[in-house]
Subunit: 270 residues, 2 copies
């Protein structure tokens, strides 16, 4: 559980502890992740399934059949499914406005430069399965891909809850796999007999996932290398509930996340 | 020197040799590059200047003063300087049309999502100094940055020829450094006392540069990890001179580059 603390601006020791971050990677973690990635790249499904059984408590098939996605999604409360539908529609609306258009420029007589924007053939959406289900991660990665025209939208999640299954249906995911961590990233980057190799991997994850994405980035595009979430809100006023919601939305990502409110108002801080 | 060869479609052994690429990285090269990057990150200018002296035959200061850029540029033939000016104007025209615009979307009553597009504060343009001067690399990286509104445009080149200096003036480069290779990438990614740390590193380079870019990518954005250039032209007709020019424009990048024409016309191939 994350800890909520009031720190006075004069308590520089506590402030420094809060703001200090390790530079660079943990070499032990990196070696471990590199071994997993190499193993899945070399041995495919055999290694992938072994890691998924060990780390994700996989039982049964690694791919979730369409009818199982549909049956699982029906277990999500009606209000949750409705919220997912509304969120999906809103995300699609924003994504549509963001699709780059390309165009033509006449550079000189007889010379025209045209930029054509084409969707990738496939993407892999990583959905963490950690402490809290994150259907929002699925929606925010898969829907822009669908709107852009990506044909194959592969998603993976180590332990997909009903809300995540409902989000997969709503987002138009074409294939869904029960896997997470570094082995899932390696499977998406290099492909196995069961998992198709994708053009780009997107979505948030823990230190294993982030490190694996950095390691495969030369062979498969990634969105970016993301450290733990950080948010700083500077305010002396505003609705404390809204501010708390914004802080918690980042804090819930990871036990290493940092959510900070800077304020001169003791009332607001409390 | 690159070798031009006619290969018949029935000579599968020669075809396979042409098309086969090593998978992944050379581990010896990667270790060597990682050591250079770590050294420059740790020791700054001291390591950077030592490597630049050793690999780039640096004499004197690592930064080239504005008046030296201007004096050097005047040594480029008038026709070359004129061609650079025309190219710069054309590249700026295309770059202007490509600047993303952002916008607002009303998602629901009272909820508007706005996307604002802001230029990076600084970029580093890598210009190879290898067998042939590549003023085009400088123009194609620095001009889009200038058009986008990037304030600090740092360029580096191990041995900048007069044409590269003329391109730097034309493109609006703000600082120019006499350095190349993995140590230059490390200096741009982490900064030293002499070289400012940049937000993003762009531009082509040899295996050392590509590997260094991949290694710093978690700490500093890069354009992408580029292997040796490849071009395949499929044609049975067209002007042989134009086709040859397109092939040579890629082949000149590197001795590992591959430039291939597939044709059923023996006349064209010859």
């Amino acid at each position: 559980m994350n800890v909520v603390r009031l720190i006075s601006s004069t308590d520089t020791r506590a402030l420094n502890r809060l703001l200090t971050r390790d530079e660079g990677m943990d070499p032990t973690l990196e070696r471990r992740v590199a071994a997993i990635v190499a193993d899945v790249r070399r041995s495919g499904d055999r290694a992938l399934v072994a890691y998924a059984r060990k780390f994700d408590k996989l039982e049964g098939a690694i791919e979730i059949a369409r009818e199982d996605i549909e049956a699982g999604a029906r277990l999500a409360p009606v209000a949750v499914r409705r919220a997912i539908r509304v969120a999906a529609r809103n995300i699609a609306r924003v994504a549509k406005a963001q699709v780059p258009r390309g165009g033509r420029v006449v550079v000189a007589t007889g010379v025209t430069v045209e930029q054509r924007v084409q969707a990738l053939a496939s993407v892999g959406c990583y959905v963490p399965g950690g402490r809290y289900p994150l259907p929002s991660s699925l929606l925010m990665t898969a829907i822009p891909a669908r709107v852009a025209g990506v044909a194959e939208i592969v998603a993976c999640c180590p332990r997909p809850e009903p809300a995540v299954l409902a989000a997969a249906l709503e987002a138009g995911v074409t294939r869904l796999f029960r896997m997470g961590g570094a082995h899932a990233i390696a499977a998406l980057a290099y492909g196995t007999a069961s998992v198709p190799r994708v053009d780009k991997i997107v979505g948030p994850g823990n230190a294993y996932v982030a490190t694996a994405k950095a390691l495969v980035a030369r062979d498969c595009a990634i969105d970016f290398y993301a450290g733990p979430s950080e948010i700083v809100i500077v305010s002396t006023q505003g609705d404390p509930d809204w501010i708390a919601a914004d802080l918690l939305a980042q804090a819930e990502h990871d036990i290493d996340a940092r959510a900070i409110l800077l304020t001169s108002s003791k009332r607001l801080a409390t």
